[in-house]
Symmetry: C2
Subunit: 242 residues, 2 copies
Amino acid sequence: MTLQETGSGVALWRQVADSIERGIADGKFPAGERLPGETEIAEIYRVNRHTVRRALAALAERGLVRAERGSGTYVEAQRLAYPLRARTRFSEIVGAGGREPRGQLIEATEAVASRELARELGLKTGAPLIRIEALRLADRTPICVSTSWLSAERFPDAGRVFAATRSMTKLIKHYGIRDYRRGSTRITAVIVDATDAARLDLALGRPILVVDATDVDPDGTPLVAMRSRFAAERVEFLVENA
Amino acid sequence: MTLQETGSGVALWRQVADSIERGIADGKFPAGERLPGETEIAEIYRVNRHTVRRALAALAERGLVRAERGSGTYVEAQRLAYPLRARTRFSEIVGAGGREPRGQLIEATEAVASRELARELGLKTGAPLIRIEALRLADRTPICVSTSWLSAERFPDAGRVFAATRSMTKLIKHYGIRDYRRGSTRITAVIVDATDAARLDLALGRPILVVDATDVDPDGTPLVAMRSRFAAERVEFLVENA
DNA sequence: TGAAGTTGTCTATGATACTAGACAACTTGT
DNA sequence: ACAAGTTGTCTAGTATCATAGACAACTTCA
């Protein structure tokens, strides 16, 4: 590896970063793979370790790599292509990308319907709800944190069922509902808060995509209202009604 | 014009230099044309004049532009394509490039043949010679300084004739020689000395191409021996016997 | 001859880049 | 529990980058 001399007008760290990025693009460093250690990279390019760190920081800033203290720096997986269709199933979308979908219950609590939630679910304000907080992963990468609200009357014990099945699809099927589809979808983006940052293993200050959606049964009856927070750098929504 | 913010890893002056170079390549600034003043360029890019000067210095270093104090900065002409053939005429080569050939007598003196010169000219060591020092230009750009040696017996008053004709071709014709051709050609490169640097309007430390050649008449009889020093950045020799 | 405009050079200041070394915090494997 | 290897963070010194202002030296044109 030979870099330009200093004074070329292109900072050393930038040359290193560009070189590594090329390596990732060329498949020299496949997604998920561990990069050489910072010390080793520094030796390869014959620069100071701090210069390498500056280069890696630039790549991490763009989400191309992710550093793990004590372990190494890893090439981030490609963004998960997440099509937004009437039939949107997390497990199917992740599986289609050749990755293993996982679900993890964070907590299940009881709640009462706010006016807004009541409207979305077709219930009365104050109706009893079950609130399920769940983390969804592709392989071992957290993709989104999802808060779901279901009618406590229609889905009694929903928390326990989700804990066992770890899947909203299976939960709904458990209550005898043959199929469901997406009712409404709204998307915004905000900066992650500390709680979700920890759950998503996301740095503070990074953007998340907030998806408010409802699933309805074939008759159009609302089943569940959800607010999902996606790590923006790990997904790419595809809207297919262009 | 919008440049990247600082911290991008690419120095500002480099971005300005690249932009101007693109402008030259795109023909936005034709060869020989004057660039906008340094102050104006600084305003265009919203950058300090010193930064512009750094950019122009980088371009000048590569011979793409040439600064003239008090006047402006000009786009350097493309390198003069200089074919090395049996029939090599400065005026014809320059004219073929659409530029006007000029000659300028620096000085004409008498000399005696060294052993080497005598051998090249087919004379005896110590034979009387006329030494002509001349500057050759394309339009107003100095191309080379040429020292020519001719037999004083065969070409009496050669200095005065050259001063009048400003052309070696015409000088030879003046003595009744129908045609001539290149006998031998040797090429080396060295760093310019102060004298030639001033004559060629060339910065100290820049390389020059030194061409030792002889011209001979159709019978092979040596007519003139020459040592020409070309500003390397202004010419490009083409050897056509590949 | 003089004014206006140009490039050349100098000093000064602050920000950024690069190197160097040391140690903390953490992960992994034995 | 420990050692080795990794990333994270800190201090420090030097060089380059960028800005700012001033003036000299030179060219051009009226």
